[in-house]
C-alpha cells in the first residue's frame, strides 16, 4: 500500500469527491432509523402520570383518600409546631416556654408560618381541582361523577374557607393547573366565600347522608355544618340557621347525654370525658351520635398517622399531648420530684413537654359562673389538681393544686412556682389532649416498667380520632347565626342545649353576645376547635387577644386580623401583582 506523493489537480478532485462521499455516508448513518420506533418512549414503571391515573372509580377514590390525608396533615398531624399555629397567638393559649412572644417576627411577610399554611391549603385545593377537572374524560358512571365531584369540592371548600378567613381575598383557582401560571390575582373575600358556598351547596345535594357513609367520611351533614359557618362569615345569617338546622334535625344525630363507650364505667368520669376516650368518636364503631366529621387516627397502621415507633421527631402524628400537657417532670418540692414522668395517667398526662399553656382567661374567667358544677371544668376534664405519684415524696397520694401550690415548689429551670400562674412545668391542662390509661400498648414501657403506666421516651402523640366537627359546635354556630339575626332568645336556647349537657346553668338571652359565644366555645371546644380560624372568621383576633390574653396583648396590632400574603408567593407570581394585606 504505497502512495506516491505527487499531488496534482486530478488527485485533488478525487480527494474532494471522497470527502463528499464520506459526508454522504455520514448523512446516511444519521438519517438511519432506530431499531424500534418505541425505543425512546418513556414509560414510568413505579409511578403513574396524570394521563393514566384518572380513569376508574379506584383511581378517583385514591385521590380522595389522599385529600383526607392532606387535610389531616394540615390540621392535625404535620408536626408538633405548625398545626398548633391555629392555637398559639389566640385568646386561649400562651407559649409558656418563652418569656415574651415575638409577633413581629411571627407575622413577618417572610415568616414560615403563613407560607406553610398557604401552601398546604392550596395543595388541598389543587388536588381537589384535579379530581374535578379530570372527571369529564374519565370512565366513571354518572352517579360516580357526582359523588366524586362532591367529595372533591368539600375539600376545596375547606381549603378556600380557611384561606379566606386567614388571608382575606385570595386568588381563586377552580380548575386543574397544567401550566406554570405566574399571573394570579387576588379575588375579593366575598368572591372566595361565594365559591365556598357554591361548592358546599353542591356537596349538600350530592354527598351521601351521614347514616350512609363510613366512619370518617364526609356527608351532607358535614357540608351543612361548614355551610352554616361560611354563611355566617358571609353575613347570610338566615341561610346559616337553615344549614345548621338541617344538621341538628337529622334523625339519629344528637348530643351524647349519658355515659358511653370504652370507659363508660370508669370513675371519675362523665359524658364529656367519654367523648374523648379512645374509640368513642366514630358513629359506627364508637356509637357516637354527636360526631359529624371525625379525623381518623389509628396506631400502627400505614395511613393511620399514629405510628408508635416514630416519636415526635418524625412527626406524622397528632402532637397535642406533647405540646399542651405541662412538663411536670420538672416540678420539685424540697428536692423531690412529686410526679413519676412520663406516665399515662392524669398526673403526668402522658409525655407532655409543656409548650402551650391555656391563657389565664381560659383557666379562670370563662368558668366564673359555674366553676364547680360545669362538668367540663371537672378535674378529669380540665386537670388543675395533680395527684402526687412518687412514693418517696412525703406528699404521696395527695393532690397539688394549681391554685394552691406548696411554698418553695420549683419548676423548669429552677423557677419558683406561684399559685395560679402558668409555668412550663405546671399549669391546668385539658385532659382531652391525652388518653389517660389508654395509650397504645407499644408505648408502655414493659421492659423497664419503673412506675405505673410508665411510657417510653418516644411517646408524644394523642392516639385517638379527632373531631373536626361535632354537633355541639353546630348548636353554637346556629346560636351565632341567631345572634346575627338579633334573636338572642333562640341563640340562648341553642347555647343552653350545650350547657345543659355540661350541667352548667343556662345563659339568659340578655347576656348572649359574641364574646359569650366565644367563651362558650372555649368551654366546650377548648383545644379542639381551630381557634385562630374562629377569631379571624369574626375579625375578632385583635379584640379578643387584647381583652383576654395579656401575654400577647402588648404586641397585638389590628393588622394581624389578617395574615400577610407570603412574600415568596408575591415574588413567584412574577407576571401579576398579588397585593399585600394592609399594614404589612
Amino acid at each position: 500500500m504505497v502512495f506516491i506523493s505527487t499531488t496534482n489537480d486530478n488527485q485533488k478532485k478525487i480527494i474532494m469527491k471522497k470527502i463528499l462521499s464520506y459526508l454522504l455516508f455520514l448523512v446516511l448513518i444519521i438519517g438511519g432509523n432506530s431499531c424500534k420506533k418505541d425505543f425512546l418512549d418513556e414509560v414510568p414503571v413505579d409511578f403513574l402520570s396524570t394521563s393514566n391515573a384518572f380513569q376508574s372509580n379506584a383511581d378517583f377514590q385514591a385521590s380522595i383518600n389522599n385529600l383526607y390525608r392532606l387535610l389531616r396533615e394540615e390540621f392535625y398531624t404535620l408536626n408538633d409546631n405548625n398545626v398548633f399555629e391555629y392555637q398559639y397567638r389566640t385568646d386561649m393559649a400562651i407559649d409558656v416556654t418563652a418569656a415574651t412572644p415575638n409577633l413581629v417576627a411571627n407575622y413577618a411577610t417572610n415568616s414560615g408560618i403563613m407560607l406553610g399554611h398557604w401552601q398546604r391549603l392550596y395543595k388541598i385545593i389543587s388536588e381537589a381541582n384535579t379530581v374535578v377537572s379530570r372527571i369529564p374524560a374519565s370512565k366513571l358512571t354518572d352517579a360516580e361523577r357526582k359523588l366524586f365531584e362532591a367529595r372533591a369540592r368539600f375539600f376545596r371548600a375547606v381549603g378556600y374557607r380557611s384561606l379566606a378567613y386567614l388571608f382575606g381575598g385570595v386568588p381563586l383557582q377552580t380548575e386543574e393547573v397544567t401550566s406554570p401560571k405566574v399571573d394570579f390575582k387576588r379575588a375579593t373575600k366575598k368572591e372566595v366565600l361565594t365559591q365556598v358556598i357554591q361548592d358546599l351547596t353542591y356537596c349538600v345535594t350530592n354527598l351521601p347522608a351521614i347514616s350512609a357513609v363510613k366512619d370518617g367520611e364526609v356527608s351532607i351533614q358535614a357540608a351543612n355544618h361548614l355551610l352554616a359557618e361560611v354563611y355566617i362569615a358571609d353575613g347570610q345569617f338566615q341561610k346559616a340557621v337553615d344549614a345548621a338546622t338541617a344538621v341538628i334535625a337529622t334523625p339519629n344525630v344528637a348530643l351524647m347525654t349519658s355515659r358511653f363507650g370504652s370507659m363508660a364505667s370508669t370513675n371519675p368520669g362523665d359524658v364529656y370525658s367519654d367523648l374523648f376516650r379512645v374509640g368513642n368518636q366514630n358513629r359506627i364503631a364508637g356509637g357516637n351520635k354527636e360526631a359529624i366529621f371525625v379525623i381518623q387516627i389509628q396506631a400502627n397502621i400505614p395511613g393511620g398517622a399514629g405510628a408508635t415507633n416514630l416519636g415526635f421527631a418524625n412527626a406524622g402524628g397528632y402532637c397535642l399531648e406533647r405540646v399542651h400537657v405541662p412538663l411536670v417532670r420538672d416540678v420539685v418540692i424540697n428536692n423531690i420530684a412529686p410526679f413519676m414522668w412520663p406516665a399515662g395517667d392524669y398526673s403526668s398526662g402522658g409525655r407532655g413537654v409543656g409548650f402551650m399553656a391555656p391563657s389565664l382567661w381560659m383557666i379562670n374567667n370563662v368558668w366564673a359562673s359555674d366553676f364547680n358544677n360545669d362538668i367540663r371544668n371537672a378535674n378529669h376534664n380540665f386537670v388543675r389538681k395533680f395527684r402526687v405519684t412518687n412514693p418517696n415524696s412525703p406528699l404521696y397520694n395527695t393532690d397539688i393544686d394549681f391554685g394552691n401550690i406548696p411554698a418553695g415548689t420549683k419548676g423548669s429551670n429552677g423557677v419558683t412556682l406561684v399559685s395560679g400562674v402558668p409555668s412550663r412545668a405546671f399549669y391546668p391542662y385539658q385532659a382531652k389532649a391525652t388518653t389517660p390509661y389508654q395509650h397504645p400498648n407499644e408505648l408502655y414501657d414493659p421492659v423497664n416498667r419503673k412506675w405505673p403506666y410508665s411510657l417510653k421516651d418516644g411517646a408524644a402523640f394523642t392516639f385517638r380520632d379527632e373531631y373536626m366537627m361535632r354537633l355541639a359546635e353546630t348548636y353554637l354556630l346556629r346560636a351565632e347565626a341567631y345572634l346575627g339575626l338579633n334573636n338572642t332568645i333562640l341563640a340562648a336556647q341553642d347555647i343552653n342545649v350545650v350547657r345543659a349537657r355540661a350541667n352548667a346553668s343556662p345563659v339568659l338571652p340578655a347576656n348572649v353576645n359574641i364574646d359569650y359565644i366565644l367563651d362558650e366555645r372555649i368551654r366546650e371546644l377548648g383545644f379542639e376547635e381551630k381557634r385562630m380560624l374562629t377569631l379571624m372568621r369574626l375579625g375578632k383576633w385583635y379584640d379578643r387577644v387584647v381583652m383576654c390574653n395579656p401575654y400577647y396583648a402588648a404586641q397585638a396590632n389590628t393588622k394581624y386580623n389578617l395574615w400577610p400574603i407570603p412574600q415568596q408567593e408575591i415574588e413567584r407570581n412574577r407576571e401579576a401583582k398579588l397585593d399585600q394585606n394592609p399594614g404589612y
Binding site: 500500500m1 504505497v2 502512495f3 506516491i4 506523493s5 505527487t6 488527485q11 455516508f25 455520514l26 448523512v27 446516511l28 448513518i29 444519521i30 431499531c35 425505543f39 425512546l40 418513556e42 414510568p44 414503571v45 413505579d46 409511578f47 403513574l48 391515573a53 389522599n66 385529600l67 383526607y68 390525608r69 416556654t97 418569656a99 415574651t100 415575638n102 417576627a105 417572610n110 385545593i125 389543587s126 383557582q173 406554570p180 401560571k181 399571573d183 366514630n282 381518623q296 400502627n300 397502621i301 395511613g303 393511620g304 405510628a307 415507633n309 416519636g311 420539685v332 424540697n334 429552677g414 407499644e442 417510653k456 421516651d457 418516644g458 412574600q567 415568596q568 415574588e571 407570581n573 412574577r574
Partner: protein, 1004 residues
C-alpha cells in the same frame, strides 16, 4: 442495529522504480506507527509516505540516504545498507505532544488534536494514598475542578469548567474503555488505569452530543501488549488516617459545656447591668437538662465523658495490588487483582474493595481483533457509624453505657437516641460491580484504512443493604433488606476510515449506537419485633411490615459522524455532527442534533518558523461546538405518586391514595451550550518549557430550569427551558523542566484556571414594565449576575447589651442592614453580597530527582477574588430545650456579655428573630495536598534480584491547609450534593483526613 454500508473507494496504485525496493516502518518513541511521514531519497525526486501502519516502501540503491520527515518529529536520516528492511524511530519535536490521547470513539495524536483535550499526569499522584480515582484528578488539569470527600472510599465532586446549567445535570460524563460508566468511581481500582483524558471544550465533547455539556472524562484501563514477555507488578502501601486540623471543632468538655449553659442564661447567671459578674443565686443544676442532674435537682451528674474519643480511632488504608500482563503473536492479556482496606477516623467508616480485572485481546487473523475488557469489583461497607452529628452534641455529663456495660438507648430520656445506638446494629452493605465489554475490531480487508469496530458494553451493579437494630422504632426494633440492581448496555457500531494522500491525512468516523439502562429496587422493612434473633433475615416476625418497590428504564439512541482532516501536518480540521435521542425528554423533543468544527494550525510547521530555534512547537487551535445537557428521566411527565393515605373507621385497612407531585411539560427539550474555544499549545527552549493556554466562551440556552411557581398552583416548581447563561474562562498550564542533569532534575507544573458566569436572559418577560427583562427573584436569578450570586440580608454584627433593637430582634442576635431605612426588616432589605463560585483555582506540582531519589509536592488552591467563593457559615442559636441539652463545638466564638466581640449570635429568648441572616465567609484556601519521597533502586541491584524496577516511598496527604474559613473544611462544601453543608461549622461535619503512607512498587 447493524448498518450495512458500502462505498466505492479509489484504490491507489503504487509505482515502482527499477532499483532495489526497501521496506520500512516508521514509529515514534512509544512504538506507535507514524503515518504520513515523508520518505525521500536524498538528492533525488524519489519520495513516498508512510501508510497508516507506518509502513513504507521505496526504491533506493544501497548506500543511498533516506530522509524521513514528519512535521511534528525531528528529521531523521538513514543509510540504506544490505538489508531491505529499515526501522525508523522518530522522536517528537514537542515533547509529550507525540503521545496518543483518547478523544472518544477513537484516539488521536496529541499534536493532531484540535479541541481542548488534556491528559492527566498519573505520575503526579502515583505515591499518594488515593483509594478513589477522583482523588487522582484533584488539581491535575486546568479546568477540572475536583473537591473532597470525607468518607472512606468516597468519590469527590467533579466538574469541568464553569457551571453551564441551573437545574439540569451537572454530572460529568465518564467513559471507561469506550463505554459510558454510570456507577460509582469508587468501584474502580486506580492501579488498573493506564490513562485519563479530559475533554473540555464543546468541539471536543460534541461527539457525546447531548451529554457533553459538563465535559467528558475518558478512562482507559491497562492492557497487555503483543509480543511482550510476562510482566508482573506488585504494589503495596500502608497509610494512616487522622483528621487534618479542625481541632477547634471538637465537642466541648464538661467545663466548657457548663460555661456554655451559663452564657445561654447570661441574664440569670450573671448580674446586671453588665452581666459579667456571676450571680451567686444561680444554680446551674436547675437549668441543665433533667437527665444531667440528680432527681430533685440537688446536684449535677459527675461525668466528664469524651464521646468524640469513643467514636473515633486512628484509621488506616492497606492497599495491595498485583497484575500480570503480556502477550504473544496472537493474544495479549492483563490480569490484575487488588485489595484495599480503608478504615476511616470515625469508627465503622470502612471501605473494603476487592477488585479483579481480565483484559484480553485475540488476533485470529491480522485484520481482526476481538477483545474482552472485564472487571469485577466487590465493595464491602458493612457496619454503621455512630451518629457523628450526635457525638458532637451529646453532653459530657451523660455516658453511653450503664453500670453493666449495656448501651443506654436514650441518655437524655427523649427520642434523641444515643449516638452509639446506630453503631451497635447489624449492618450489611455490599456493592458488586461487573463490567463485561466485548469488542470486535475489524480492519476491512482490501480496503486500507477502513475499520469497523463493534463495542458491546455491559455494566451490572448489585447493591445489598441489610440492617437490623433493636434500638430503632422507639426501641421496638426495626430491620430491613434493600436490594437494588442496575444494568445497562451500550451497543456502538464505529466505522473508521483513515487515509493519507500525500500531504493530506483524513480520518472519518461514523457511529451508530444505543444505550439502555434499567434499575430495580426492593425494600422490605419490618418494625416492632418481640425479638431480633434472626436479625434482618427475620423480617417476617415484625408487627408492621412494609414493602417498597421502585425502578426505572431509560434509553438513548444516537448517531455521530466525524471528519478529521490534516494537510501537511500543519493545518488541522475536525468536524463532527451528532444526533441524540433520549427517552427522558418530552415526546415532542426526543431528538436533537449537535454539530462542531475545530481548526488547528501548527505554526512550527511553517517555513518561516524553522529559523526560530527557541520555539520547538507551536499550535493554535480554535473550535466551535454545540453540546447538550441531559436531564433526569421522567422530568417532563406530570407525576402521580401513591401513598398509604388514610383509614376509614377504627380497625379498618389502609386506604391508599395518589397525589399529583409535578407538573408535566410536553415541550421540555434539550439544553444547548454553544461554545467557542481558543487554545495554544507550545513547547519552547529545547522542550524545557511546555504548556498550553485556553480561552473559552460558552453560551447555554434553553436552560433546563425548575422555575419556582406560586404554591397556589399546588406545585413548587415547573420544569422548563428558559434563558441564557454565559461562561467565560481561561486555563493556563505550564510545565518546566527546570533542571535536567544526569543526576539532578527538577520539574515543575503550574496550572491556573478561572471562570466567570453570567446570566444573560431569563424569562424574556418584563411584567413590571420597567423596560428591562425581569429577574426571577424567587429563584435567586438576576440578569447580569452569576447563577451563584448571593442575594440576601447583610449582617452587621451583633446586638450588644443596651443597644436599641429593631422590632422582632433580640440582644445577642445578628443585626441586619436596613437598606430602605424604614425601621422594619423585610425582603426589601436584601442586597447583593457576593457569589458562591470561586474566581480562579491554582495548582503547583514540583518534582525533584537526585539519582534514585524523587521528592515531590503538590499544592492546590481555590481563590474567590473579590466577594467570591463565599458560603454561609452561620451558627444560629437561641435558648430552648435542645440548645441547653445539646453540647456544641468548642472554639466557636459566640457572643455573650463576657465576650462582646464574639462573632456568632446567641439569643436568650425562645423565639427566632424576624430575620436571622446568613454569615457569608470566604472559602479561599491553599492546601499542601501531597508530598512524596521515593527511591528507585539502581539497575545494579535490580539485576541481582532480576527485577525491572523497585521503588519505595513515603508520602503525606492533606498535611496542611491555609485558610481563614472557620468550618470543618473550605473545600468540602463546594458541592451542592448531599454533603453540601458538611464543611461549615456544623455539629454533623466531618474532618478531612490526612495520612502518611509507606509503600513500594515492584515490577518483574
Amino acid at each position: 442495529m447493524f448498518i450495512v454500508f458500502g462505498f466505492s473507494l479509489f484504490l491507489s496504485t503504487a509505482a515502482f522504480a527499477q532499483t532495489k525496493t526497501v521496506a520500512g516502518k516508521v514509529t515514534d518513541g512509544q512504538g506507535l506507527p507514524v503515518s504520513g511521514a515523508t520518505v525521500t531519497v536524498k538528492g533525488t525526486n524519489e519520495a513516498t509516505a508512510s501508510d497508516n501502519d507506518g509502513h513504507f516502501s521505496i526504491n533506493a540503491a544501497k548506500g543511498a540516504t533516506l530522509v524521513i520527515t514528519s512535521v511534528n518529529y525531528v528529521d531523521q536520516e538513514v543509510t540504506v545498507g544490505n538489508s531491505n528492511n529499515i526501522s525508523v524511530l522518530l522522536s517528537p519535536k514537542g515533547g509529550d505532544l507525540g503521545e496518543v490521547v483518547v478523544v472518544g470513539y477513537g484516539t488521536q495524536k496529541k499534536i493532531d488534536v484540535t479541541g481542548s483535550v488534556a491528559r492527566v499526569n498519573l505520575e503526579t499522584m502515583a505515591n499518594a494514598p488515593n483509594t478513589n480515582i477522583g482523588q487522582y484528578l484533584q488539581g491535575t488539569v486546568p479546568g477540572l475542578n475536583v473537591g473532597l470527600s470525607t468518607f472512606a472510599g468516597g468519590t469527590p465532586p467533579i466538574s469541568i469548567r464553569g457551571r453551564v446549567t441551573i437545574s439540569g445535570s451537572q454530572a460529568t460524563v465518564i467513559i471507561v474503555d469506550g463505554i459510558q460508566y454510570n456507577n460509582s468511581l469508587s468501584s474502580i481500582n486506580p492501579d488498573d488505569i493506564a490513562s485519563i483524558d479530559i475533554l473540555k471544550d464543546a468541539s471536543a465533547t460534541a461527539i457525546y452530543g447531548a451529554q457533553g455539556a459538563n465535559g467528558v472524562i475518558l478512562i482507559t484501563s491497562k492492557k497487555g501488549k503483543y509480543n511482550q514477555k510476562p510482566r508482573i507488578s506488585f504494589s503495596s502501601s500502608y497509610t494512616t488516617q487522622t483528621p487534618s486540623g479542625g481541632d477547634d471543632l471538637r465537642p466541648k468538655n464538661r467545663e466548657d459545656y457548663l460555661q456554655g449553659i451559663r452564657d445561654a442564661f447570661w441574664n440569670v447567671a450573671y448580674l446586671g447591668p453588665n452581666y459579667t459578674d456571676p450571680n451567686p443565686a444561680f444554680k446551674i443544676e436547675n437549668v441543665v437538662d433533667a437527665s444531667m442532674a440528680t432527681t430533685g435537682r440537688t446536684a449535677l451528674l459527675p461525668n466528664n465523658y469524651d464521646w468524640w474519643k469513643e467514636a473515633t480511632n486512628t484509621g488506616s488504608i492497606i492497599d495491595n495490588s498485583l497484575s500480570v500482563s503480556g502477550g504473544g503473536d496472537r493474544v495479549t492479556y492483563l490480569l490484575s487483582g487488588s485489595v484495599v482496606n480503608q478504615k476511616g477516623y470515625i469508627i465503622n467508616d470502612k471501605f473494603n474493595r476487592k477488585s479483579i480485572r481480565a483484559n484480553l485481546e485475540i488476533k485470529p487473523v491480522n485484520w481482526w481483533r476481538v477483545g474482552l475488557v472485564s472487571s469485577g469489583s466487590f465493595v464491602n461497607q458493612d457496619g454503621s457509624e455512630p451518629g457523628i452529628g450526635l457525638i458532637n452534641i451529646f453532653s459530657p455529663l451523660l455516658v453511653p453505657y450503664d453500670s453493666l456495660g449495656n448501651v443506654i438507648p436514650s441518655p437524655t430520656n427523649t427520642v434523641l437516641g444515643s449516638p452509639m445506638t446506630s453503631y451497635y446494629v447489624d449492618d450489611y452493605e455490599r456493592h458488586q460491580y461487573w463490567v463485561g465489554n466485548i469488542y470486535s475490531d475489524l480492519d476491512i480487508p482490501f480496503i486500507s484504512g477502513l475499520n469497523y469496530r463493534l463495542n458491546f458494553g455491559n455494566n451490572l451493579r448489585n447493591d445489598q443493604h441489610y440492617y437490623a437494630s433493636r434500638f430503632d422504632a422507639n426501641q421496638n426494633g426495626r430491620a430491613y433488606k434493600e436490594n437494588q440492581s442496575n444494568y445497562d448496555y451500550t451497543f456502538d457500531n464505529i466505522v473508521t476510515y483513515n487515509k493519507t494522500f500525500g500531504k493530506h491525512g483524513i480520518t472519518v468516523t461514523g457511529l451508530y449506537g444505543a444505550v439502555k439502562r434499567k434499575n430495580e429496587r426492593t425494600l422490605a422493612e419490618g418494625t416492632g419485633f418481640s425479638r431480633l434473633n434472626l436479625s434482618y433475615n427475620g423480617i417476617g416476625g415484625a408487627d408492621t411490615k412494609n414493602v417498597t418497590t421502585t425502578g426505572y428504564d431509560e434509553a438513548l439512541n444516537y448517531q455521530m459522524g466525524r471528519i478529521a482532516y490534516k494537510f501537511d501536518d500543519r493545518y488541522l480540521l475536525t468536524a463532527t455532527i451528532r444526533r441524540d435521542g433520549f427517552s427522558g425528554f418530552a415526546k415532542n423533543y426526543k431528538y436533537a442534533t449537535f454539530p462542531s468544527v475545530a481548526l488547528g494550525w501548527v505554526i512550527t510547521g511553517e517555513e518561516f518558523m524553522q529559523s526560530v530555534k527557541w520555539v520547538n512547537f507551536l499550535k493554535l487551535r480554535a473550535g466551535y461546538g454545540v453540546i447538550g445537557n441531559q436531564t433526569t428521566r421522567y422530568f417532563s411527565i406530570a407525576t402521580v405518586n401513591t401513598n398509604a393515605s388514610y383509614i376509614y373507621g377504627d380497625g379498618s385497612q389502609t386506604a391508599f391514595g395518589q397525589q399529583v407531585s409535578t407538573l408535566g411539560n410536553d415541550n421540555l427539550k434539550w439544553e444547548k451550550t454553544a461554545g467557542l474555544n481558543f487554545g495554544v499549545d507550545f513547547t519552547l527552549l529545547k522542550n524545557r518549557l511546555s504548556g498550553n493556554l485556553e480561552y473559552y466562551n460558552n453560551n447555554t440556552t434553553d436552560l433546563l430550569f425548575s422555575v419556582a411557581v406560586p404554591s397556589l398552583t399546588g406545585f413548587d416548581l415547573f420544569r422548563t427551558n428558559l434563558g441564557k447563561i454565559n461562561n467565560m474562562g481561561f486555563e493556563v498550564g505550564l510545565t518546566g523542566k527546570i533542571i535536567e542533569k544526569k543526576d539532578w532534575n527538577w520539574t515543575s507544573t503550574f496550572n491556573i484556571w478561572g471562570n466567570t458566569n453570567k446570566i444573560k436572559h431569563l424569562t424574556g418577560v418584563d411584567a413590571n414594565n420597567d423596560g428591562k427583562e425581569d429577574d426571577i427573584v424567587s429563584s435567586g436569578l438576576f440578569i447580569g449576575k452569576s447563577i451563584q450570586e448571593i442575594f440576601d440580608y447583610q449582617q452587621m454584627g451583633i446586638y450588644q447589651l443596651g443597644e436599641t433593637l429593631l422590632p422582632g430582634f433580640q440582644t445577642g442576635s445578628l443585626k441586619v442592614f436596613d437598606k430602605d431605612k424604614n425601621g422594619t426588616i423585610n425582603s426589601d432589605d436584601r442586597v447583593f453580597i457576593g457569589k458562591r463560585e470561586p474566581a480562579y483555582r491554582m495548582s503547583w506540582y514540583n518534582s525533584f530527582g537526585y539519582k534514585g531519589f524523587t521528592l515531590s509536592f503538590f499544592l492546590n488552591s481555590v481563590q474567590g477574588g473579590k466577594n467570591g467563593n463565599l458560603e454561609n457559615n452561620v451558627r444560629l442559636y437561641f435558648r430552648e430545650d435542645n440548645s441547653i441539652r445539646n453540647n456544641d463545638l468548642k472554639g466557636v466564638d459566640y457572643w455573650s456579655p463576657r465576650n462582646p466581640n464574639g462573632k456568632y449570635p446567641r439569643i436568650i429568648t425562645g423565639t427566632h428573630s424576624t430575620v436571622e441572616p446568613a454569615m457569608y465567609e470566604s472559602r479561599d484556601f491553599i492546601r499542601l495536598q501531597d508530598v512524596s519521597l521515593g527511591y528507585s533502586f539502581s539497575p545494579k541491584i535490580l539485576s541481582k534480584v532480576k527485577a525491572q524496577s523497585i521503588s519505595i516511598y513515603v508520602s503525606g496527604k492533606n498535611l496542611a491547609t491555609w485558610t481563614d474559613w472557620q468550618g470543618w473544611d473550605p473545600e468540602v462544601s463546594t458541592n451542592n450534593g448531599a454533603n453540601e453543608n458538611q464543611g461549615r461549622i456544623v455539629t454533623d461535619g466531618r474532618p478531612v483526613l490526612m495520612g502518611y503512607t509507606v509503600g513500594l512498587h515492584i515490577n518483574y
